[in-house]
């Protein structure tokens, strides 16, 4: 039956249509809300069509890694709640959740979106650790782009809590925002048959051949790639997919810049 569905999806794509009536390179409506939780230092709710997820940023004081004594760090975790899709099970993060978290992490880390140097409090002793948690509310496809968008929106609105050198007072937030120096945008391009699409729906995510998540910086440079799916892609196809992603990132960037 999965084979039937794939054939059906391809039949639509041959006519330049998607199974939900969209154009191949058309995103669903995107909305971003920030500051939605009281307890997190920064938070965002992202909706792409029916897909919805929440991202929270918590600031913690910790000790630096021995190899980077003067740098703070980020930690990204993703939780695919069972309520958001019949496919998700409760329990420790599975491979899907780990991949989602790592792709979000890599986009932020490799674009140097958060200045790690400025997260240092006392070299070798104390640093700020920025914990980013992604929680899915509803999975209707394209969690990758939504999570990356939500993480950046939450980071942009996050505020340092009060810190007196010993204890962090989470009850009081300062006016000081995080040292954001870059705004990466992730766009996932899927290959189904010979066709490329962006912003997949649940059905399309079931039948795709290959997937490429591209993180793009504000000047159009790439900072991270993640390939998924069973099928191989040629060099030419990769450059085609990156071209689509760079093009589409401009559209997504408008939503992020508006915050």
């Amino acid at each position: 039956m999965m084979y039937d569905l794939k054939e059906h999806v391809i039949k639509f794509l041959q006519r330049g249509l998607r199974v939900d009536g969209r154009k191949p390179l058309e995103y669903r409506d995107i909305s971003i809300e920030t500051g939605i939780t009281k307890n997190a230092e920064g938070s965002a709710r992202v909706k792409i069509g029916e897909t919805e997820l929440i991202v929270g940023v918590k600031m913690e004081v910790g000790s630096p890694y021995p190899d980077t004594p003067a740098e703070g760090t980020i930690i990204v975790g993703a939780e695919l709640l069972p309520l958001s899709s019949p496919e998700f099970e409760a329990g420790p993060p599975d491979i899907q959740a780990i991949e989602l978290a790592r792709v979000v992490d890599r986009g932020i880390r490799e674009s140097r979106a958060v200045s790690f140097k400025k997260l240092c409090i006392e070299p070798g002793k104390k640093i700020w650790m920025c914990v980013i948690d992604v929680v899915t509310v509803n999975d209707a496809g394209n969690l990758f782009d939504a999570a990356a968008l939500g993480a950046m929106a939450a980071l942009k609105t996050a505020r340092f809590p009060e810190y007196d050198g010993e204890k962090v007072n989470y009850k009081k937030l300062t006016d000081k925002g995080l040292p954001i120096e870059e705004e990466p945008i992730s766009v996932t391009v899927l290959k189904i048959g010979e066709h490329f699409i962006v912003d997949p729906s649940t059905e399309e995510e079931k039948v795709y051949d290959a997937r490429l998540t591209v993180a793009i910086m504000s000047n159009g440079d790439l900072c991270a790639l993640q390939k998924g799916g069973d099928a191989a892609v040629t060099e030419e196809e990769i450059s085609q997919m990156i071209g689509i992603a760079v093009d589409k990132s401009k559209e997504l960037r408008k939503h992020l810049s508006a915050i």
Partner: protein, 283 residues
């Protein structure tokens, strides 16, 4: 205590809402009695029918009902049949004997009939009080679905989508040149030209959203007329002639049956010196 009706006919009730007080009223489907009050158990329209209070649900999961024709997905293969997801809180069970008239020997590979992920049009033959659902494939129009795709709608809107004697669904079918099968459990199978299929789905969504309004057929007709330019006219392939299940011949000796033993005429012909049939070896 004096009986009192607390809600008007055709009003919307929410779960837990008290509909009436006193023993002069009786709870119907979708309602129940606590002490002397009648309470709604679902979200829906209240119907006051004399003393009886009924509630027509507007939302909720599908509840399996006997004789419903539904669309299900095979999720498991068991020792003697299949477990089918019927878009309900309860799974359905399809036994081999209700799935095919073939002789299936013990330990045979059941995936040749239905395998994981297959969608089937099937009928509920029985629902026990413990909600064990029995399914059958014997009957007209019951088959495995090939090609096309499944969309899901609110099960309580299915009667409006089908219409009187299937009038609504055949209206959409004819206007969009698509093949459509509506399951009572809220799953709908559609196959047609991509452009037409999208129009058909939009029409179904429109019915779903406006199911409670009057003059729905007219509105759907208008909608289909307005979208005529989007529809590509194609010749409808005549539906594949349905395989009529062979009659179960009780004494049909062509087919081996479980427990069959060789017949007398399967034996090699008698030769000179053979022991006569009827003589016992030991006497």
């Amino acid at each position: 205590m004096e009986s009192k009706l607390l809600i008007q006919d055709k009003e919307i009730a929410v779960p837990g809402e008290i509909l009436a007080e006193g023993m002069d009223f009786v709870p119907g489907p979708g309602t129940y009695r606590i002490g002397e009050t009648i309470v709604a158990s679902r979200l829906g329209l209240v119907q006051v029918d004399g003393r009886a209070l009924k509630l027509i649900p507007m939302s909720g999961k599908y509840m399996p009902k006997r004789d419903d024709t539904i669309i299900g997905q095979v999720v498991d293969i068991l020792f003697s049949g299949w477990r089918v997801d019927i878009n309900s809180a309860y799974p359905g069970m399809l036994n081999i004997k209700d799935a095919t008239s073939d002789f299936v020997s013990k330990g045979a590979d059941l995936t040749q009939y239905y395998t994981f992920g297959d969608y089937i049009v099937t009928k509920i033959t029985n629902v026990t009080s413990q909600k064990l659902v029995d399914l059958s494939m014997r009957g007209p129009g019951l088959k495995k679905l090939k090609g096309g795709r499944i969309i899901s709608v609110n099960p309580s809107k299915v009667p409006r989508i089908i219409g009187k004697q299937g009038s609504m669904v055949s209206l959409i079918k004819e206007a969009t040149y698509s093949r459509i099968t509506v399951g009572q459990n809220g799953l709908i199978w559609i196959d047609g030209e991509p452009e037409n299929e999208l129009v058909a789905i939009e029409a179904i969504r429109k019915i779903e959203n406006e199911a409670h309004l009057a003059g729905l057929t007219e509105k759907v007709k208008e909608f289909l007329d307005a979208n005529k330019s989007r529809i590509k006219e194609v010749e409808m392939k005549p539906e594949e002639p349905e395989e009529q299940p062979e009659r179960f011949e009780r004494f049909d000796r062509e087919r081996p049956r479980y427990g069959d033993r060789p017949r007398y005429n399967d034996r090699p012909p008698r030769r000179e010196g053979d022991r006569p049939f009827n003589r016992r070896r030991f006497s």
